[in-house]
C-alpha cells in the first residue's frame, strides 16, 4: 500500500514540476536560514551543559551596597572561609587569570593565554577530563605545578607524554621551572569557564601583593580579585545556604556589611549575568529571543507557502481522490497518502537546506558577530531539531490539505462541479496577508532601526563630533606636552589637548558623593580626567565659572568642574567656589553625552591630571586629515621612537558605539528579504494556479465585453486589498515592538509614518510585479478555448 502512495506522490510531483520546484526552493531557503539561527540558539543555550555537576556548582557574586553594582570578584580568603564554615559546601576554589605567562619552546618564549591560577579542587568542580588514565587529585598543590590543556601539551611537547616533564617559564618578570603534573582535554567552546593551563594560586597572590605593596592579599577581605566557585553537596538547599551567608557576612565584614555575597548557579552564568561586572563570557538572552522569533517567522512563511500551493494544486487532485473513494478507499488512508506526499517534499528539501546552511554559516557568523561553530557535543541536538522542524513543516502543511481534500464529496468531484472556493480562497488570502504582514513589519522595523542609527550618529552630543582625531599615547608617557606643542605648530591643527580618555568614553569610573542638602543620600558621580584646553578642543561650553587654566597654579591638584546634572542631583546652589571632596568647584559645563546614547547623561566631575594622560585629542581643519596623519606620525616618531603610532577618528569611535544596531538592521533587512523571497515564490505559484482556475471565468467575461485591462485590474484589485490590509496591520505590531526596542536608548528618534509608507510601497511593487506576469497572460486567453464544452 505504501509503495502505491509513494509512487503516486512521486508521479504527482513529476507532473507538477513548477509547483514542486517553487515549494522546494522556498522551503529550502527558509529551512537553511532557520537552521543557521537554530545553530546559534542551540549553541547559546548549551553553555555550561558540559559540566556534569552543573546543578551543584555555584559562583559567588559580590554586591556592593554603595555602588549598587554586582561584581564577580571576591576576596581570596572567601573560598576557604566558606568551606570551613558550611558543611554543605564540599569544594571551594578561587581562580584568577594569570597575565603574561610565557613558556619556553626551543629557546623561544611563547605566550600562553588563558592561564588560570587556582587550587587542585578545580578538577572536582568542573568537568575537566584528564588525558590518559591519570588521577585528577592534588595536581596543583605543588607551587611549581602546571597542568596543560591537550592543545598546549601538544604544542610544547610534540609527540611526547608531557606528564612529569619540566618546562621553563617566564612569569612576574622572572624565570621559573614548572613541572607538568597533568594534561586535560581541551575545554569545549560552550563553557564559560575557559583555561589553557592551570597554575598554583600562590603566583597570583604574590603578584597582587607586589602591585599593591602589601603582604596580606590572601587574607584581606577587601581585596576583591578572585572568582570563587563552590560545589554544594547534592542534598543541600542553596536557598537555605543563602540565608546563612548573611550571618557569615556580619561575622567577617562587620556589623553593617557593605558587600553582600550571593550564589549564582553555573547554568545561569552565561545568560543570567547582564548586571554582573567582570563576568567573563556573557550571552544576550534578548538576542536569542529575537533570533528565535525571526526563525519562527521564516518557517511560518515557508509553511504557509506550502499550504497555499498544496491546496491550490490539490484542486487538480480532486478527481483522483474521488475515484479512489469510489473504489472503496477509507478517508484515513487518503489522509495518510496526502500527508506522505507533503512530508516527502519536506524531507527532500532537508539535504538541500543543510547544504545551503553550511554555505551560509561563515557569512552568518560575521553578521551575528559571533563564531557560529558546529560544536561536536551538540550535534545530536542539531540533527534532532532540524529533523523535527522539517517533519513538522511537512506534517503541519500536509494536515490541512489532506483534511480538506479527503472531505470532498465523491459525487461533486466526479460530476465535475467546480469547487465553490469562497472559504478556501479566504483561508489562502489570510495566509498571504500574514506573510505580507511579517514582511511589512520587518521592513518597517529595519527602517526604524536604521533611522535610530542615523539619529545616534548625527545627534549633537554636546561636544564636537567631527574632524577630531585621537592619538593614543599609551601608559605613563611623560613627553606628551612636548608632543602636543609640536602638533599644534601645524597650521591645519585648530586645537589639541591631552586627556585620560577621549569622548565618547567607553569606560566609566564612579565614586559615591553625599548630597549637599541631605548627606545621608549618596549620589553616584562619574569622573573624567583631562588636561588643559581639552574642554575647548571638544567644544564643551562652560556655563558658570571658568575652564581650567594654566594661570591658576592650583588647578592641577585641587580644582574641579561639574556638569549640570551633577549640580542638580547633588543639590548644590551657587556651585562655583564651593568645596567638594577636598577640591574647589571652579565651573559648571553644559551637559553632554559622555557615553553612547543608550545611557542618560550621568552626574560628572571633571578633574585635571598630568599622570594619566593617555590620549591626545586633535581638532583639525575639515578635509585636511590625509595631510595631517603623516605629520602626526612623523612628530610621534620624534617624540616617542619606542612606541607604536596609533590613532582613531572620532567619527569611527562614534560609529563603533552603535555597531550592534547597524548589525541588527542588516540582519533584519536580510531576513526581510528572505521572507519576501519566500512569500513572493508562494504568491507567484498561487497566482499561476488562480489564473489557471479562472480561465473559464475570464473567457466568459471577455465574451461579455470585458477588455484585457479590466481583467488585469481585477487580479490586481484583490492583491491590492491584501497588501493594504497587511501593511495596515503591520503598523500597530511594528510600533509595539519597536517602541520597546527604542526604550534601550535614553535618547531616541520617533517612529515616523513614512517608514510604513515605504514598507507598503515595497510590498506593493513586489506583489504587483509578481501578479502582473500571470494576469497579463490570463488576460490574453482565447475565450473559444476557455469555453469549449466537453
Amino acid at each position: 500500500m505504501f509503495r502505491n502512495y509513494f509512487k503516486t506522490a512521486f508521479r504527482f510531483l513529476k507532473q507538477n514540476k513548477l509547483f514542486a520546484a517553487i515549494n522546494v526552493i522556498g522551503l529550502s531557503i527558509a529551512l537553511a536560514a532557520s537552521f543557521i539561527i537554530l545553530l546559534f540558539v542551540i549553541n547559546e543555550l548549551s553553555y555550561n551543559q558540559v559540566h556534569k555537576n552543573k546543578k551543584q556548582v555555584y559562583r559567588v557574586l559580590n554586591y556592593y551596597v554603595d555602588f549598587k553594582g554586582t561584581n564577580s570578584y571576591t576576596p581570596y580568603i572567601l573560598a576557604s572561609a566558606l568551606k570551613e564554615e558550611f558543611p554543605q559546601i564540599k569544594k571551594a576554589v578561587r581562580c584568577r587569570n594569570v597575565n603574561g605567562l610565557k613558556l619556553k619552546l626551543n629557546n623561544e618564549l611563547i605566550n600562553v593565554w588563558n592561564a588560570v591560577a587556582t587550587n587542585s579542587e578545580i578538577f572536582d568542580i568542573f568537568t575537566l577530563p584528564m588525558v590518559g588514565n591519570q588521577s585528577n587529585q592534588k595536581l596543583l598543590d605543588d607551587p611549581n605545578a602546571i597542568v596543560l590543556s591537550r592543545d598546549e601539551a601538544e604544542k610544547f611537547f610534540p609527540q611526547q607524554n608531557a606528564v612529569g616533564k619540566e618546562i621553563t617559564g617566564y612569569l612576574n618578570n622572572q624565570e621559573h621551572i614548572f613541572i607538568v603534573k597533568g594534561v586535560f582535554e581541551n575545554i569545549p567552546p560552550n563553557s564559560t569557564f575557559q583555561a589553557q593551563c592551570f597554575l598554583n594560586n600562590q603566583w597570583k597572590v604574590d603578584d597582587i601583593n607586589k602591585s599593591f605593596n602589601i603582604t596580606n592579599a590572601d587574607v584581606d577581605w577587601d581585596k576583591d580579585f578572585w572568582i570563587t566557585w563552590v560545589l554544594l553537596s547534592e542534598d543541600s538547599n542553596p536557598k537555605d545556604l543563602q540565608k546563612q551567608i548573611h550571618a557569615f557576612e556580619i561575622k567577617h565584614l562587620g556589623e553593617k556589611p557593605l558587600k553582600i555575597y550571593s550564589l549564582q548557579n553555573l547554568s545561569d552564568v552565561y545568560l543570567g549575568s547582564e548586571q554582573v561586572m567582570n563576568s567573563g563570557m556573557k550571552g544576550n538572552i534578548n538576542n536569542i529571543r529575537l533570533f528565535l522569533a525571526i526563525a519562527i517567522l521564516i518557517v511560518l512563511v515557508a509553511a504557509f507557502n506550502f499550504i497555499i500551493l498544496s491546496t491550490a494544486v490539490s484542486t487538480g487532485r480532486a478527481k483522483e481522490i474521488g475515484i479512489r473513494k469510489t473504489n472503496g478507499a477509507p478517508i484515513n488512508s487518503l489522509r495518510i497518502q496526502l500527508l506522505i506526499e507533503s512530508v516527502l517534499i519536506s524531507v527532500m528539501v532537508l539535504p538541500i537546506a543543510l547544504i545551503l546552511a553550511k554555505i551560509g554559516l561563515p557569512y552568518a557568523g560575521q553578521l551575528f558577530q559571533t563564531k557560529l561553530e558546529i560544536i561536536p557535543s551538540n550535534i545530536v541536538f542539531y540533527c534532532l531539531i532540524y529533523l523535527c522542524l522539517t517533519l513538522f513543516i511537512g506534517l503541519a502543511s500536509g494536515i490541512y490539505t489532506s483534511a480538506y481534500l479527503s472531505r470532498l464529496k465523491v459525487m461533486d468531484v466526479l460530476r465535475n462541479t467546480p469547487m465553490s472556493g469562497k472559504s478556501k480562497q479566504f483561508f489562502r488570502s489570510s495566509l498571504i496577508v500574514i506573510q505580507l504582514l511579517i514582511f511589512c513589519s520587518f521592513v518597517a522595523s529595519t527602517l526604524i532601526i536604521r533611522s535610530q542609527y542615523q539619529y545616534a550618529l548625527n545627534k549633537d552630543p554636546g561636544y564636537i563630533n567631527k574632524n577630531i582625531v585621537l592619538v593614543d599615547l599609551g601608559r605613563d608617557f611623560k613627553g606628551y606636552s612636548a608632543y602636543i606643542n609640536s602638533v599644534k605648530s601645524n597650521p591645519n591643527v585648530i586645537m589639541a589637548a591631552g586627556t585620560m580618555e577621549g569622548l565618547p568614553m567607553m569606560s566609566s569610573m564612579a565614586s559615591m558623593i553625599s548630597n549637599f542638602q541631605d548627606n545621608t543620600q549618596k549620589v553616584k558621580v562619574e569622573g573624567m580626567a583631562i588636561d588643559f584646553n581639552f574642554l575647548k578642543t571638544m567644544g564643551i561650553s562652560v556655563i558658570q565659572g571658568r575652564d581650567f587654566s594654566e594661570e591658576f597654579g592650583s588647578d592641577m591638584t585641587n580644582s574641579m568642574i561639574l556638569n549640570e546634572s551633577a549640580v542638580k542631583q547633588l543639590s548644590i546652589t551657587d556651585p562655583v567656589g564651593k568645596k567638594m571632596e577636598s577640591s574647589v568647584i571652579i565651573g559648571v559645563v553644559k551637559d553632554f553625552n559622555l557615553h553612547s546614547l543608550h545611557t542618560d547623561i550621568p552626574p560628572l566631575m571633571i578633574n585635571m591630571t598630568d599622570r594619566y594622560i593617555e590620549q591626545v585629542a586633535i581638532r583639525y581643519q575639515p578635509g585636511t586629515l590625509s595631510q595631517l596623519i603623516p605629520f602626526l606620525e612623523k612628530e610621534w616618531e620624534k617624540a616617542a621612537p619606542d612606541r607604536p603610532f596609533s590613532y582613531s577618528r572620532i567619527e569611527d569611535i562614534i560609529e563603533s558605539l552603535y555597531s550592534s544596531e547597524k548589525n541588527l538592521s542588516t540582519i533584519v533587512t536580510l531576513f526581510a528579504l528572505f521572507t519576501l523571497l519566500i512569500s513572493s515564490f508562494g504568491l507567484f505559484g498561487l497566482t499561476l494556479f488562480i489564473a489557471r482556475s479562472r480561465t473559464k471565468e475570464i473567457g466568459i467575461k471577455k465574451v461579455f465585453g470585458s477588455t484585457g485591462k479590466t481583467i488585469i485590474y481585477s487580479f490586481l484589485k484583490g492583491n491590492l486589498l491584501m497588501v493594504l490590509f497587511a501593511s495596515l496591520l503591520s503598523v500597530p505590531i511594528t510600533i509595539y515592538f519597536m517602541t520597546r526596542w527604542l526604550d534601550n536608548f535614553s535618547y531616541h528618534t520617533t517612529i515616523s509614518w513614512w517608514v510604513f509608507a515605504i514598507a507598503f510601497g515595497v510590498v506593493a511593487v513586489v506583489v504587483f510585479s509578481t501578479v502582473l506576469i500571470h494576469s497579463f497572460r490570463a488576460s490574453r486567453i482565447n475565450p473559444v478555448e476557455a469555453l469549449r464544452y466537453e
Partner: protein, 233 residues
C-alpha cells in the same frame, strides 16, 4: 444585417488540411430567428463563433451592417460584444463566484452603466423571469433550466441586437428546454435577432428558418411554419 460569403475554416496539419467550414454563404436579416442544425462536428459551433467574433475565418468575407467584421481591432471587437451581440451557452457558463444578481449585472458594468440604472435593469429582468427570490443564490444552487434563464437574462440585459445561442437546451430536460425556447421565441417577437445552434429537431422548429450543416457545408436552408407574416408584428 449579417452577411457571410464563401467562409472557409480549416486547420492545417502536417500533410492535410481539415475543413471545418467550406464555402459557407449566409445572410441573416434583422428580426430573424435562425436555427443551425447538424450532427456533431459539422461546424455549427465554429460558424456561430465566427459570427460572434470569437473566432476568425480562414478565408471569405464577413460583414455586419455592410461593414467588414474581419481583422477588427481588439477595441472594436470588445465594442461589438458590449453593445451589439450577446451569447448563451450549453454549459450556461455562469461565474460560480458570483450570485445570480451579480452574474446578470456583469455586462452592464462593462458597458459602463451607472449603478442605480443597473439596479433598476437587473430588477426588471429578474421580475420578468420570476427569479427575484433567487437573486442572492449562487449558480450551483439552481436547477439547469434556472441557470440557463440567468444565462439568458445576462445575455439580453445589455439590449443587444443579436443573440447567439450555442445549444442552449443541450443540457436540459425537455420541459425546461421548451421553457427556454419559448423565452427565446418571445424575445424574437420583441424584435431581437437570434441565431441558435441545436441538435434537437423539435427545438429547431421554434426558429423561423433552419439551416442544415453537414461536414462544414450548408445542405439546406428552409423556412419553418413559424415564419409566417401573421406572426411578425
Amino acid at each position: 444585417m449579417i452577411h457571410l460569403s464563401n467562409i472557409d475554416k480549416y486547420y492545417d496539419s502536417k500533410f492535410q488540411r481539415t475543413f471545418v467550414l467550406k464555402a459557407v454563404n449566409l445572410e441573416v436579416k434583422e428580426g430573424e430567428f435562425v436555427s443551425i442544425m447538424g450532427p456533431s462536428g459539422s461546424g455549427k459551433s465554429t460558424l456561430l463563433n465566427i459570427i460572434g467574433l470569437l473566432d476568425a475565418p480562414s478565408a471569405g468575407e464577413y460583414s455586419l451592417y455592410e461593414k467588414s467584421a474581419l481583422d477588427l481591432k481588439e477595441k472594436d471587437r470588445v465594442a461589438y460584444h458590449r453593445n451589439f451581440m450577446s451569447f448563451i451557452f450549453q454549459a450556461y457558463h455562469l461565474i460560480e463566484e458570483m450570485t445570480v444578481y451579480e452574474n446578470i449585472e456583469t455586462p452592464l458594468i462593462y458597458k459602463g452603466v451607472k449603478s442605480r440604472d443597473r439596479q433598476a435593469m437587473v430588477a426588471e429582468l429578474l421580475d420578468r423571469f420570476n427569479m427575484v427570490a433567487k437573486k442572492d443564490l449562487f449558480p450551483q444552487q439552481l436547477s439547469g433550466g434556472q441557470q440557463q434563464l440567468v444565462g439568458i437574462a445576462r445575455a439580453i440585459i445589455g439590449k443587444p441586437k443579436l443573440l447567439l445561442a450555442d445549444e442552449p437546451t443541450g443540457n436540459l430536460q425537455s420541459v425546461q428546454g421548451e421553457m427556454i425556447m419559448e423565452t427565446l421565441q418571445e424575445l424574437n417577437r420583441e424584435g431581437m435577432t437570434i441565431i441558435q445552434v441545436t441538435h434537437n429537431e423539435l427545438f429547431a422548429q421554434y426558429g423561423k428558418r433552419v439551416i442544415r450543416l453537414e461536414d462544414g457545408i450548408v445542405r439546406g436552408d428552409i423556412s419553418t411554419k413559424n415564419n409566417q407574416p401573421a406572426m411578425v408584428k
